[in-house]
């Protein structure tokens, strides 16, 4: 096929979600010509005017703003000896597509990991006697200090209009915030969202039990906000359509609301949609990239030359593009050589659903991030070493949605017939959840590579996940079951049902967990165990930067977006301050 050669740009950005839009605006503001290529379609405000998103069937059931499995499936197997099977329908996770990416449909819980989460390996070595932790665990530290990354968390949180309660301001613990959070250089930009009934009930009981509840930190803004790029974000009106929906009130920070308006006005920025990047083209010496090859909306094969290539698509796609392009050596789980695909991690959830006959929770009156949580059970804040596992969870009562198809019914309610119908009428709006979102460690034989059997529509291999639960994570689940059980009993519901992983659980692809898939092209200090340095620069191909959840060496209990924003902004700053002056490796191995 003839190739259409595009005019060279300074930077080509692959994928226009949070990482791609932040990288684009930061580099465009530095005067570079930036061209973004997005696999999906454009998604502008007009598509999300009220009442269009208030449609549970279209957005939450039919996944209207997600990538389809037909175009973005991965394959999954539990261990190295099995044949992986494709995710023909989404279940456990559902990545976004189009302008905004997963930053459009996210629930907007905007929370930082703790300093211990970022230095988990150091903590493990100090706190755990040898032999306590699983031999096949491969946790690592993030390759920067808290003080290095903190300004970028602050910057991203100002871009989003983070709403919440400060817990630690420059070392001073603040009442009502999270006492376990790392020291903040500045308080939260905006006050917390309002509490719904379940949040208040949970917070009261948790406090009574000696825990430290605080409002879910949120990027659904609680007040009108003008961000550092000059974009205006409207105050949340608790519409009830948040997680999986674009925001009909423009209140949830997204690449659209927080970045794209300002970015689109810049003459040195352009973007193309339905532009499916197939490969990064390298120079013969494999030390630098020439640009990217993509298929445009008309089916033409195009070459976009660029001095810098930013891979900022979803975590899976970034890892797959590196493997398809020969950037870095693929990971081999037997020899443990190679780095691309290494340290994949997902996470688990679970919890308790509590039913109260005499309480109206009005579950539709809510924001996705509404809720209260405790961080008391995160690494370093409880006696993990005595319990024989490492990790933890945020435990929270949120009310992310109140739409009818997602209604919970008490145990024993029939799945159909008169009993089901009566159950829906009796119990809708009368339940609340206490949920866990857990850490997930990385392991020698949990990894990503290219699938030998299944291909995409262009004939390229799908990405293959080898993933299953390990004893460490299952022990953690069982411990959390006890804690959630105690809080549940204290709340004294009429009835409740529990969902936790038993010790013999396998990864279940049919039940939605989250789309917090991480790792596979991780950041680190050592090129033998990491794909990227701390500026998200490929160790092997120095003009390729790979911002995204792919850079996390394991998964922490905090939601990933705050960290994806922070590391992306740190990388953008390093490109502007250092790389442009002296192109080459920014960290000497």
């Amino acid at each position: 096929m003839a190739q259409v050669i595009k005019p060279e740009v300074d930077v080509v950005v692959v994928g226009l979600g949070w990482a791609g839009s932040l990288m684009s605006i930061e580099l465009a503001m530095a005067g570079l010509t930036v061209r973004a290529l997005e696999r999906g379609g454009d998604r502008g405000y007009e598509e999300f005017a009220y009442p269009k998103p208030a449609d549970e069937y279209a957005y939450a059931v039919r996944n209207k703003v997600m990538a389809t499995p037909a175009e973005a499936a991965v394959t999954v197997r539990y261990n190295m000896s099995e044949t992986a099977l494709p995710t023909r329908k989404w279940g456990a996770f559902a990545p976004g597509t189009g302008v905004g990416g997963s930053g459009l449909h996210w629930t907007a819980v905007l929370i930082r990991p703790t300093p211990t989460d970022l230095k988990l390996k150091t903590y493990a070595d100090e706190a755990y006697k040898p032999g306590i932790l699983q031999e096949d665990m491969r946790i690592m530290d993030f390759p920067f200090t808290w003080d290095e990354i903190e300004p970028y968390y602050t910057k991203f949180e100002h871009i989003c209009g983070q709403s919440g309660k400060t817990g630690n301001l420059r070392g001073q613990i603040m009442e009502g915030g999270d006492p376990f959070e790392g020291p903040r250089s500045e308080p939260y930009p905006l006050p917390a969202l309002e509490d719904t009934l379940n949040s208040s009930m949970f917070a009261e009981v948790a406090k009574k039990m000696g825990y430290h509840p605080f409002p879910n930190p949120s990027a659904c803004v609680s007040r009108a906000w003008i961000n550092p790029y000059g974009n205006q974000i409207a105050p949340c009106n608790y519409c009830g359509y948040c997680s999986k929906y674009p925001c009909l009130n423009y209140s949830k920070a997204s690449p659209q609301t927080a970045v794209m308006d300002a970015l689109k006005r810049m003459d040195n920025f352009s973007y193309e949609v339905h532009a499916n990047v197939l490969k990064v083209e390298l120079h013969d010496d494999k030390k630098t990239a020439k640009g990217v090859i993509y298929r445009d909306a008309q089916g033409n094969e195009c070459f976009q030359p660029a001095k810098i290539v930013v891979l900022s698509s979803f975590q899976f796609c970034n890892v797959r593009l590196m493997l398809l392009s020969g950037i870095g050596k693929p990971y081999n789980p037997i020899t443990e050589e190679g780095v691309i695909g290494r340290n994949y991690a997902f996470l688990s959830n679970g919890g308790s659903t509590l039913f109260f006959k005499d309480k109206n929770f009005n579950p539709f009156a809510t924001a996705g991030a509404t809720g209260q949580m405790i961080n008391d059970i995160s690494p370093g804040n409880f006696d993990g070493p005595a319990l024989g596992f490492i990790g933890g969870a945020k435990i929270h009562s949120s009310q992310a949605t109140g739409t009818p198809i997602s209604t919970s019914l008490p145990k024993g309610t029939p799945a159909w017939g008169t009993g089901w119908k009566e159950g829906m009428e009796e119990w809708y709006g009368h339940s609340m959840k206490i949920s866990i979102t857990t850490t997930c460690q990385s392991y020698r034989d949990i990894y990503l590579d290219l699938d030998p059997n299944y291909k995409d529509e262009y004939g390229y291999p799908l990405l293959r996940m080898t993933f299953d639960w390990k004893q460490n994570e299952l022990k953690l689940q069982q411990y959390l079951k006890g804690i959630v059980g105690n809080i549940t009993k204290e709340l004294n519901p009429d009835s409740y049902s529990e969902s936790f992983l038993p010790m013999d659980a396998h990864f279940d692809l049919t039940k939605y967990v989250s789309t917090h898939n991480v790792g596979g092209a991780v950041m680190g200090d050592n090129p033998k165990t990491s794909a990227l340095n701390k500026f998200l620069q490929s160790w092997d191909v120095h003009n390729v930067f790979v911002p995204g959840g792919n850079a996390f060496p394991q998964n922490f209990q905090a939601n990933p977006t705050d960290t994806i924003g922070a590391i992306t902004l740190m990388a953008a700053q390093a490109i502007k301050d250092q790389y442009l002056k002296n192109p080459g490796p920014l960290v000497q191995a």
Binding site: K52, A70, L85, K89, L197, C239, F364, W416
Partner: protein, 241 residues
């Protein structure tokens, strides 16, 4: 709106409704919700676009048992809310095009690996209905729709629990519970989705539950704890009930 029925009155009402701004309630003495309900086709007059007449009888009869009319509360049944129309409209549309359909297929994969069926939902329905009717013929000498309510419930339970063995009937790619799962979830979706998709006629399922639909603004309500919300639902097309 893909509904096929083309009565002049319905076209007029629908056209007028779509032009209404949210908040305009009264139209010639009818509430918008009443008008919308009138505009929705009468299920018995509806001509399915995807299902054959035999299949349609099965869908009507199965939906009626999965969400029956009557019972203790005020919640309507699947037939009162046009659920079969929803299912027909979905199957007629792009439903299932999002599924990754490249082989090879391993239909014996553990259930935790999710959807590994070599069929789109449309084929699951066609196959499932044919085999379910065939089982009913063998056991009751009647098609499903002609069974007593008790026998229908029993047949549905057998589908749900794989008591009807599709493999014994020559179908190796699909088990009965997979067909039942599709049927049940689509039936519930038709009952609970916005009326724009052809089901939830008159938003009656929402009214019964107390769900306010697409109102989507609760700034003053989020702080009022344990107070029942007083207003009825609004649909995507601006109908109120």
């Amino acid at each position: 709106m893909l509904l096929q029925k083309k009565t002049t009155r319905r076209k007029f009402l629908l056209g007028s409704l779509m032009a209404l701004p949210v908040g305009t309630i009264m139209m010639k003495g009818l509430s918008a919700a009443q008008a919308a309900e009138m505009a929705a086709p009468d299920l018995l007059d509806y001509k399915p676009v995807f299902f054959s007449p035999d299949e349609w009888q099965f869908i009507m009869a199965a939906a009626d048992r999965l969400i029956p009319a009557g019972g203790k509360g005020k919640a309507p049944g699947a037939l009162e809310t046009n659920v079969p129309i929803f299912i027909d409209q979905q199957m007629h549309g792009d439903f299932g095009e999002e599924i990754y359909m490249q082989g090879p297929f391993n239909v014996h994969a553990p259930a935790t690996m999710g959807y590994q069926i070599p069929f789109r939902p449309q084929q699951i329905y066609k196959t499932g209905i044919r085999l379910a009717n065939s089982w009913c013929q063998q056991n009751h000498q009647k098609d499903f729709h002609a069974l007593s309510d008790q026998d229908k419930d029993n047949a549905l339970t057998q589908l749900q629990k794989n008591g009807i063995r599709f493999a014994d009937m020559g179908e190796e790619s699909l088990v009965a519970s997979q067909f039942f799962g599709e049927l049940l979830s689509d039936t519930k979706h038709g009952y609970l989705a916005d009326p724009i998709y052809g089901g939830n006629k008159g938003m009656k399922a929402w009214i019964a539950m107390g769900f306010p639909g697409a109102r989507a603004s609760f700034t003053e309500w989020v702080k009022q704890h344990n107070v029942p919300y007083p207003l009825g639902p609004v649909s995507l097309q601006g109908a109120r009930a």
